[in-house]
């Protein structure tokens, strides 16, 4: 392990540039530790986002050596074997400043994909009983742990080519609701994800699945949506 790490950090907005910093190397150091060191010890003007530091909140994702990652749980040992690191704001999103990307479009797409749960019961009704082993619950379980970090969105080449594409996270969210037994939105949501910016535009590159820090496969959820919308279209429901 070398004593220092040479870190290229994106500074400024979309027309900014990388600036190099030298950061002391430590045991069990994460990329977020490095960025935090730069801001606290070298350059307090550096803007970046984080909250929980333990992989729960999804706010610290950045491009690390060209790949989107959650920085709080990405160890330097893993990504900077040669002592060099490049940190940039998430791809496919506008840059606000330095390492902070504008997440509005990302979350607006969740809403556009019908990402809100709407059930048929009121608070006067008893709890819905969904057996944990039921097929629909198992399908929902596979995608439900998304933390909204946008790593998948930044890794998706379809988003890069087709900016209106809803993206893996929003479609994964829609899928977890499509398979939710309590859901009452039904065909309306399928319509929202079946347009030319929806699930059918996925090229199954699997970048989202490869990069998801939570081990979710948005690709599998999107494939489920493709089947669901196809069935609905063929049955004349769409």
């Amino acid at each position: 392990m070398s004593a220092t790490l040479r870190v290229q950090v994106w500074r400024g907005g979309a027309d900014g540039a990388f600036r190099e910093y030298e950061v002391p190397r430590r045991e069990s150091q994460t990329v977020l530790d490095v960025v935090t060191h730069i801001q606290r010890a070298l350059d307090p003007t550096l803007a970046y986002r984080y909250a929980c530091r333990v992989g729960m909140c999804g706010s610290c994702a950045m491009m690390v050596n060209g790949a989107a990652r959650w920085t709080c749980r990405t160890h330097i040992d893993k990504v900077a074997k040669d002592g060099r690191l490049e940190v940039a704001p998430l791809r496919n999103l506008p840059v606000i400043r330095d390492l902070v990307a504008d997440m509005r479009e990302f979350f607006d797409k969740w809403a556009r994909a019908g990402g809100q749960f709407r059930g048929a019961r009121s608070r006067a009704d008893d709890f819905a009983r969904v057996p944990p082993q039921s097929a629909s619950r198992q399908l929902a379980d596979a995608g439900i742990e998304c933390i909204g970090c946008a790593v998948c969105y930044a890794s998706c080449d379809v988003v890069a080519r087709l900016p209106e594409y809803l993206g893996p996270a929003a479609l994964n969210r829609a899928w977890t609701l499509v398979v939710d037994e309590r859901d009452a939105v039904g065909v309306e949501r399928l319509r929202a994800v079946a347009g030319d910016a929806g699930a059918l535009s996925c090229h199954t590159h699997l970048s989202c699945t490869e990069r998801c820090p939570k081990g979710i496969s948005p690709t599998a959820g999107i494939a489920g949506l493709k089947r669901a919308v196809s069935r609905a279209a063929l049955e004349g429901e769409l």
């Binding site: 379809v158 399928l190 059918l200 769409l238």
Partner: protein, 112 residues
């Protein structure tokens, strides 16, 4: 573009892909099998002329191509050139018709 039409186009492309997978396999295996001892153009035509079964097979092949390729190209045009709307639809229908006519003409020439 309605969600329904978009989805039906997608289904048509997947269904035609399944037909093409079979057609391409049969086509290639037949070629390799038929020419393994050497075969001239005249010999091929002598075998194919008047063969209704193979003519029907290649008609299906050509029609599957005419469905599959324009729908795929439609996505490519949207993603690479941001070309959408009526002009794209007209261009793609013309492309589909051209593929079908050229293909069916070839089928008529080889099997007719």
């Amino acid at each position: 573009m309605s969600a329904r039409r978009e989805t039906l186009l997608w289904v048509a492309q997947r269904a035609s892909a399944a037909v093409l997978a079979l057609c391409v396999t049969v086509h290639l295996v037949t070629i390799v099998y038929a020419v393994r001892g050497g075969l001239t153009g005249a010999e091929i035509l002598a075998r194919t002329h008047g063969n209704a079964a193979w003519a029907a097979f290649y008609v299906v092949f050509v029609l599957a191509v005419s469905v599959h390729a324009p729908i795929g190209l439609r996505a490519v045009l949207a993603e690479w050139l941001a070309w959408r709307g009526r002009s794209r639809t007209v261009a793609l229908i013309a492309f589909a018709v051209a593929l079908a006519l050229l293909g069916l003409r070839a089928v008529a020439a080889v099997f007719g």
